[in-house]
């Protein structure tokens, strides 16, 4: 029996060729998309992983103020850790692009050449492949940067710049504006010594030995530098400015110390004479008393005068004798006594002063010692050398391509599941239709003894074979150059990565080739089993149970309306499939449109919100900002986004900034956040937000006091004074100047200069970059939409063939037939689209952040009203076209059909 039934398979294929072809196309396209997207992601992810050991990819990198000394290097590498300097100079080219100059690498982040060889002589260089491609530079060509002309000996890439961006805060690659160039050490030194270039970046890459990243970081933090080690004139200047203040304070303290010591010494000396003075005074007084005693003896008064009794004795004699001579004697002795007492008082005072000055001198000495410590603290002359520390995991430049692909892989697998569910549902509709159409035959076969499993096998076979063939074709196309080959081109055209080997992950082969037929077989088995549960007689009689049709009364008197509603209810399964298909396809289209709208938004709003013409980023800030510039203080913190670390620029500004529409309140924990953060994280005023500083291992918490409509990256605005206080800076510190005109600032002081044009160009990269993906998504979504709609509307017409044939017999005209059988679909499509479009938009908006977790950018996804209208109109237009195509199908239904078949 199976052999007999199998003969029907080819006939079934022939009679339903169009439908099977459409189904095949749907599965092929779905699997092709999944395999090509996921496969290309695997190629990049596995390729990146494989290249890690070949290219000796760093475990991380750190930047320092001053190059590490040999002693530092020994300390840091004692546990087996490898360190290699990755010093760089940014050189300007003739077309205002920047080439970052490095020496050839030796042990870490090795150059992977696509063609040519490494630079080995003066004047030779290897060019980064992205820049070379953007400028159509080949091996043997020359390139001029920083006034030096290099002959390109090779073109390649390095793993620490696979997302080749100039700064960590840059959100997009600009191949034409930024690239890398590698040359010999001698050539590098010559360029450096030539001057006229920005400050050298002292960056080191490392590969860990036995310590962890954290332990290694602590080791680097322990390395301090002294001002004497500094050679850079701007750095020296900055340190000297700091030291000038310190020296003034130190001199003052020293003077005080010296003075107090001198004072102490003088007073001590003075105090040393006190005893003599007291002795002399005593002698003088005693001599006077002796002389007075002699005078009294001459007067017949033999009295011994002492310092204790002289006053009373003489006074009693004066009152007894009224002698003027005795009175004068008493007065003179009193004066001598007072003098003596005065000498005593003076010498005691001198002693106390000497003691006090000695204490003062000790105090001042102590003050001096403490002040020295204080000055060491305040004026940090022992500067921490580490300026930044980024592990490879947190470095968006390292493994950026693979990181980006992880999302593609997940999105591809999820999209694949959605497509598989959709086609499984579509297949189930076909099967149900076929079984209903053939149920009298099935009943007869049942009655003749054919078993259910034979019938199930028969009905499952064709769709499963179709699914298998489609899956194989889809997978082959997916793995071919037009699949993975095409998809991975986007990666090669954006990231600076070597050409990876093709990979064939077993799970993807299983996903692409095995899953579709398995799902198809399972869905069919489920549906067919249910349908074949009827008795043979019931099937033969083609019985419709009374409950098969929804029993409801329709109020309307209009027959076409009644008919269309009844038809709609009858075909509700197909209609639901059509709406689900519409939703899925609109989700795919919406994904493309959201992507496009976001990229355009980044481009347009960045241009709109960038009000400055020049941004000068200082490495060595001046004391005061140029008159025509607006000083600001920028720190870069980070925030986590689905496992990715994204940069947040904290900008300290004055209340009345000319260039930013933000008025941050004073306070170290108060901040105004920009709209990009709100769009991504849903923050609102009053929320507490936390950002991190990985280099300092510190978290900063802010209360959101306002939201600024500023779309450039993730940005937080603070009151500049409060920010200086928060980050321990001077009250006049700044490291950035914004200006609406070009300023005359020494290049050596600057990290970089960004113009408004640079910012706009960087922002517009997204549109170019995403255009092919947007196009693919919109085309894929439209094809899915067309195929599903064509298939489902075709099924509806097939299922209604008997009815159409019947009303043709009655004399219905084509227009009337369309009105009865197809116009109801217009209602389904019109209402379905009205529901599906906003739902799809909502769903895509919700999941969209998952697709860009590694990009810190604004995410304005709001559509202009007319875009909704265009989508809706497109749906109706496509429906109308398909409707027109299906009229041919209706025309083909013969009136005699009804005479041949029995419903």
């Amino acid at each position: 029996m199976n052999r007999v039934l199998s003969k029907r398979l080819l006939r079934d294929l022939r009679s339903n060729f169009g439908r099977y072809l459409a189904l095949l196309l749907l599965i092929v396209m779905g699997i092709y998309l999944v395999v090509s997207i996921v496969g290309s992601a695997e190629v990049v992810i596995q390729g990146t992983e494989n290249k890690k050991s070949v290219n000796k990819v760093e475990d991380g990198q750190f930047a320092v103020f001053l190059p590490l000394t040999d002693e530092d290097m020994s300390l840091l590498t004692e546990d087996g850790t490898q360190i290699e300097p990755m010093f760089s100079l940014d050189l300007k080219t003739g077309d205002d692009a920047t080439l970052r100059l490095f020496k050839n690498r030796e042990n870490i982040d090795l150059i992977q050449l696509d063609e040519g060889e490494l630079a080995s002589q003066m004047g030779e260089a290897v060019l980064e492949k992205g820049y070379a491609s953007a400028h159509d530079i080949r091996v043997g060509d020359t390139v001029t940067a920083g006034g030096v002309t290099f002959t390109v000996t090779g073109i390649g890439s390095v793993p620490d710049y696979d997302m080749c961006i100039a700064h960590f805060s840059d959100s997009a690659v600009e191949r034409s504006a930024f690239g890398l160039i590698f040359t010999t050490a001698e050539q590098y030194d010559e360029v450096k010594s030539g001057g006229g270039v920005n400050a050298e970046e002292c960056t080191y890459a490392y590969r860990l030995g036995s310590c962890t990243n954290d332990e290694f970081k602590e080791k680097i933090r322990d390395i301090k530098i002294t001002p004497e080690q500094v050679e850079d004139k701007y750095f020296r200047e900055t340190v000297d400015e700091m030291l000038e203040d310190r020296n003034k304070l130190e001199d003052g303290i020293n003077e005080l110390n010296d003075g107090s010591a001198e004072l102490s010494d003088g007073l001590a000396e003075l105090s040393g004479y006190s005893s003599d003075m007291r002795d002399a005074a005593d002698k003088l007084f005693e001599g006077y008393l002796e002389q007075a005693g002699s005078s009294l003896a001459a007067m017949g008064q033999n009295i011994t005068l002492t310092k204790e009794n002289y006053h009373d004795t003489l006074e009693s004699l004066v009152s007894a004798t009224h002698s003027e001579q005795l009175s004068a004697l008493l007065k003179s002795i009193d004066e001598i006594s007072e003098f003596r007492n005065g000498i005593y008082d003076y010498t005691e005072g001198t002693d106390s002063a000497a003691e006090g000055s000695a204490e003062l001198a000790d105090g001042v000495k102590e003050l001096k010692e403490k002040t020295d410590e204080l000055l060491d603290d305040v004026f940090s002359v022992d500067i921490e050398n580490l300026t930044s520390f980024v592990t490879a995991e947190d470095n968006i430049r390292v493994g950026g391509a693979a990181g980006d692909m992880v999302m593609d892989k997940n999105a591809g697998l999820i999209a694949g599941v959605i497509v598989l569910i959709l086609f499984a549902y579509v297949i189930s509709v076909f099967v149900v239709h076929q079984i209903e159409r053939e149920q009298s035959v099935i009943g007869a076969l049942y009655a003749l003894g054919v078993k259910k499993k034979d019938l199930m096998l028969h009905y499952i076979t064709m769709p499963t074979i179709i699914a298998l063939i489609a899956a194989v074709i889809g997978a082959v196309l997916g793995f071919s150059p037009i699949g993975i080959g095409t998809q991975v081109k986007d990666t090669y055209s954006y990231f600076s990565v070597p050409f990876f080997d093709m990979v064939y992950p077993p799970y993807l082969i299983a996903y692409g080739v095995v899953l579709p037929p398995v799902i198809c077989a399972l869905v069919n088995a489920f549906v067919i089993n249910k349908k074949l549960s009827k008795t043979a007689l019931s099937l033969m009689k083609n019985e419709q149970s009374a409950g098969s049709y929804k029993q409801f009364t329709l109020k309307t008197k209009s027959f076409p309306k009644v008919f269309a509603i009844r038809q709609l209810v009858r075909e509700s399964r197909s209609a639901v499939t059509m709406v689900i298909g519409m939703l899925v396809s609109i989700i795919v289209i919406m994904l493309g449109l959201d992507c496009y709208v976001m990229c355009c938004g980044v481009r347009d709003y960045t241009a709109l919100d960038t009000k400055y013409e020049y941004q000068y980023l200082y490495k060595y800030p001046e004391k005061t900002a140029p008159d025509e510039g607006e000083p600001a203080y920028i720190e870069t913190l980070t925030i986590d986004c689905m496992g990715y670390t994204l940069d947040v620029s904290v900008i300290g500004i004055d209340g009345e900034s000319r260039f930013f529409d933000a008025k941050p309140e004073k306070g170290k924990t108060k901040a105004v956040i920009n709209s990009s953060l709100v769009e991504r994280y849903g923050y609102k005023v009053g929320d507490r937000v936390i950002f991190s500083d990985p280099a300092a291992d510190a978290d900063y918490s802010f209360t959101v006091t306002g939201i600024s409509e500023y779309s450039v990256g993730f940005t937080v605005f603070m009151d500049i004074g409060s920010m200086r206080e928060l980050f321990g800076r001077d009250e006049d510190y700044f490291n950035t100047v914004y200006s609406d005109k070009e300023l005359d600032i020494d290049e050596g002081r600057l990290y970089s200069v960004n113009t408004k044009e640079d910012v706009e160009r960087s922002a517009s990269v997204y549109v170019k970059l995403m255009l092919s993906l947007v196009r693919t998504l919109i085309i894929a979504g439209t094809i899915i939409f067309c195929v599903v709609m064509y298939l489902m509307m075709g099924v509806m017409i097939d299922r209604s063939a008997m009815g159409i044939s019947l009303i043709k017999i009655f004399g219905y005209r084509p227009k009337e037939i369309r009105a009865l059988y197809l116009n109801g679909n217009l209602f389904v499509v019109a209402v379905g689209a009205l529901i599906a479009v906003p739902i799809a938009k909502k769903i895509v908006d919700m999941i969209f952040p998952m697709f860009i977790p590694n990009v810190a950018c604004s995410m304005k996804l709001a559509f202009p009203w007319y875009l909704y209208l265009i989508i809706y109109a497109a749906v109706i237009v496509i429906y109308t076209i398909i409707n027109r195509l299906l009229i041919g199908k209706i025309k083909k239904i013969s009136p005699a059909e009804v005479l041949k078949n029995r419903e």
């Binding site: 019985e543 419709q544 149970s545 009374a546 098969s548 049709y549 029993q551 009364t553 027959f559 076409p560 009644v562 008919f563 009844r566 038809q567 209810v569 009858r570 008997m802 009815g803 019947l806 009303i807 043709k808 017999i809 009655f810 004399g811 219905y812 005209r813 084509p814 009337e816 013969s894 009136p895 005699a896 009804v898 005479l899 029995r902 419903e903």
Partner: protein, 233 residues
């Protein structure tokens, strides 16, 4: 002559599979008469009915209905011809399963210029109480009555019946034939009934017997028996 068939030929297939079903049939029927076409399976009776009904094209010959020639008509013209002139009743009813009895009848009411009153028709056919039921909820006889109502609602001049009692039991068959007879009398509808049943010929005005694609015999039935009195069905 209301219906006039002249030398109609019809064949299917080509080469080895070629078969000529109608080999030059000529016959006719007066307005308001009931006629039975009888013949064995494969004789060509249904093909002739389909040709008269404009459902199938003939290779040659002529069919005129009320003076209108069908041969050579384009599909759209045939559609209008059926719309304006014909009613069909089938052996297996061919009701639209997801429409109620009333709605099935409305299918033809909708395209009729001067349709009959549905309620009256439902009353005549005994379907008033079933008008909101779906076909699956009806017996075979009720379904055929619904099909008759549907065919009659546009008040056709010619009613074509293909084995109208073929799927019904004896009693129900009689009821249906009585109904057709009443309709013929009440509305003056011309009827052409294709049947295997040998007894039905007794109730009609004319009998045409076809064999191997040719009219073997045709005659006017002078001794009509009312349907209700037919001996055995």
């Amino acid at each position: 002559m209301y219906l006039e068939v002249k030398d109609v030929k019809k064949s299917y297939g080509s080469d080895t599979s070629y078969i000529q079903v109608l080999k030059g049939i000529s016959t006719g029927l007066e307005r308001g008469k009931m006629c039975v076409i009888q013949g064995t399976s494969g004789s060509g009776k249904s093909t002739l009915l389909n040709c008269i009904g404009g459902l199938d094209t003939m290779d040659s010959g002529s069919i005129t209905v009320d003076g209108t020639e069908i041969f050579g008509m384009k599909p759209a013209q045939l559609s209008d011809y059926r719309r304006d002139n014909l009613g069909f009743i089938f052996q297996f009813y061919n009701l639209v399963p997801n429409l109620t009895v009333r709605e099935n009848i409305q299918i033809c009411q909708y395209i009729a210029e001067k349709p009959l009153d549905i309620d009256e028709l439902l009353e005549v056919l005994g379907l008033t109480e079933h008008q909101n039921k779906f076909p699956a909820q009806l017996s075979g006889g009720q379904q055929q009555r619904c099909a008759i109502a549907r065919a009659l609602v546009k008040n056709p001049k010619l009613l074509l019946c293909d084995e109208p009692t073929g799927a019904l039991d004896s009693k129900t068959s009689r009821d249906i034939l009585v109904l057709l007879e009443q309709i013929n009398e009440k509305y003056g509808t011309t009827m052409l009934i294709v049947t295997h049943n040998n007894y039905i010929k007794n109730m009609v005005h004319k009998v045409i017997i076809i064999k191997d694609g040719l009219v073997k015999k045709e005659y006017e039935n002078e001794k009509r028996v009312p349907a209700a009195e037919l001996e055995d069905l």
